[in-house]
Symmetry: D2
Subunit: 233 residues, 4 copies
């Protein structure tokens, strides 16, 4: 059982009726529901003080999930710095969908994290390209999301340490949809599904992937570990 904190921008759901209809309590609540049976889950949102990511919250978090879209620029740089350091110390991180463009993910990757996109509600089929990976545990050869926003290559990220999923879109695109990285002592998983206007996080297989990814990203001894007290001139 890991201590999981789910961070959500939580703006769309309060400002847009169509989104509110899909995620009435916020995307974070739906994700929390997917994880709550197995983990100790709390949530935090952009408009909380310090975005809900105080030193205390981060120090007691094993794995952080991050969902953002429209307000990346409103995330305070000091909080980004604080979360970044915790990842390097060993906190796991799940970066979801449009959070590829968050300050945090761009900072961890060192690249633009740009990609192609089209909001067309088309079919996405996610292929498991690494069947032995723990994040694919219990999945079949592929699974489908009947309506999604399309993300297409090239995705400007460093070569993933492990590529778990690659998406096929009916409109003709492909995308590396499940990418594993290690930075410092922390494990990072980028997972593409999750647009706010589709009930992606209600999808059973997506929920299974989230649970698997939390297990994978949890530090080995269930607590933060530091990269150390290194210094130089």
């Amino acid at each position: 059982m890991a201590a999981v904190t789910i961070w959500n921008e939580y703006r769309h759901e309060r400002e847009d009726e169509a989104v509110a209809a899909v995620y009435p309590d916020g995307i974070h609540a739906t994700i929390a529901d997917a994880l709550a049976d197995e983990h100790d889950v709390q949530t935090a949102t952009l408009d909380d003080p310090e975005h809900g990511l105080t030193v205390d919250v981060l120090e007691s978090t094993d794995v952080l999930c991050w969902w953002g879209h429209d307000a990346h620029d409103e995330v305070d740089d000091a909080v980004v710095e604080r979360v970044h350091e915790r990842v390097l110390e060993g906190m796991g991180l799940l970066v979801l969908h449009s959070a590829h463009y968050s300050k945090l993910f761009k900072r961890l990757m060192g690249t633009s994290c740009s990609l192609q996109w089209r909001e067309d509600g088309g079919l996405e089929r996610l292929w498991v390209v690494d069947p032995g990976h723990p994040i694919a545990d219990g999945l079949g050869a592929w699974f489908e999301l009947p309506e999604t926003e399309m993300y297409g290559e090239p995705f400007d990220v460093p070569e993933p340490d492990r590529l778990v999923f690659t998406s096929w879109f009916e409109g003709g695109e492909v995308f590396r949809s499940g990418c594993c990285y290690r930075r410092g002592s922390g494990r990072i998983f980028y997972f593409r599904p999750g647009h706010e206007t589709y009930p992606i996080y209600e999808h059973e297989t997506v929920r299974r992937v989230l649970r698997n990814a939390v297990d994978w990203a949890t530090p080995v001894d269930g607590s933060p570990r530091t990269f150390g007290h290194r210094e130089r001139s």
Copy 2:
């Protein structure tokens, strides 16, 4: 200008009229034609003595292209061993299409190299996922092959050092179509396109990729280099 040797099984073209119609002089001749303006090209086939891959031929080869399909098992183990050693010493290697199942490639990868397949003549679109890679030099965002045999994931290979292309197939599959590896001092590029019943190697972009890949795989000083004379107890 590199010294390139193109190896072809050269059976389909002599035994099957449909294939002979597409590649009347053999697949090797068509590939040779794509490279001859820029490189010093020779060819070799399965039914040549020592499969045309004598010590002398290999020692004077900078980059070897390998196409095989139906007769992988007829390739002599001693020749596979010899080629394998030359790759480790620094000779570049292009592994084409169904050669994923050659003794040589399986031996270099250490995995089964298995994949899914369907011979349906459907459309393949190859996306450039690594636009800055030399093998993608001069290409656009993607290119299409109107009729191909489908290859699908999972492709049982080690994580590529660099993934250059990912294919989208109209039947619903994806595939890592351009994979770079280094083994010993040699550079290896697996390139998916190339079925014997379609004129894939007449396609201008495919030919450009082959030329780029030869440039990329050529040892730096244009001559073989050895990993060394290391020994142990």
Copy 3:
């Protein structure tokens, strides 16, 4: 708790008094002792029927440890093939010291696996270069082996997925001493320490590393998983 099988060549200990003095019951017995509190351990040796690695044994093994040195060539190719396939299906594998030159490891790596060596009984200091890795769990910044056989670079292996340890030798060499790989669905850890004439496997930190590595290499659900039923033409 994983099902661990420890394979040992078990020749030196029966033929050489100096080795027998260090490992009176065989290297496998000493390694088994290091793991037995946490795992279900069995052993197998070269001179057992089928080298002790029958289909039944392998099917019930989560993680296999391999130690060999003088008799690599006596290992039957059919058994190597069988073990290789089980690794691709998901069985974990620990490759110890001179087993870098085993048929099995060379086959999984696709390279010569050659290195430099000198049997001088000098000091080795192993630095943890990836402090957040599960295999380094509980270790300090480094640990020392007062007397070892030296292994030096270049070590002809593919770039490790993760490099956990790098050794410093008092004679002036360095070596990548802890290398992680994934092949098919199996996790592989090469760990350098372990010469037969020094009591390396009695060393507390080495034993801790072995336990950590077994944990890391165990398939997620504690049972073999297959890469699948893929086929091609």
Copy 4:
């Protein structure tokens, strides 16, 4: 022939007599001298307007070398952003010695880039662990620097795409001294040697490595290439 720009902090040489004695015209001048026979070289320093790294300079640069130590914080964020973007577009980058702690390198790596250090003037031996790599072209198995500042592991960087050198220090440490990365379309090489109080950049093998690294990092067509015009919502 590539267009190379050598950037140097250029403070130590003007403020410290001991450094001025080693590099009377600045570290940049000594590096420029190593490259000038083969490349079109210009220099730029911290105290130039815009640190000498204007849009025009960067747009006409194929490979940038970066040396900094004491004044990382004085480098303007807007210039760092500009250089970062040019690397992602395809400009090669050589990061030298203490520049591991530059804003630019930390931003490209996404980690703390911390390490251990000791200024003791001891012997460093650099082992070539990847003999087939172009950056090792023409080198032997190792080379030595008789007096250096020590850098030790753990070095908090992402796993290198290719590790070319590993250093042995007489004081008992090891270090990954030559690390290759790709970010966006740009090639990055971190090279450890180069302290300001030792004539490291006069060393013939170091100069050979710098030339090799410039060749390796030069974009294929000798001009900048962009990752593209990708956008998303």
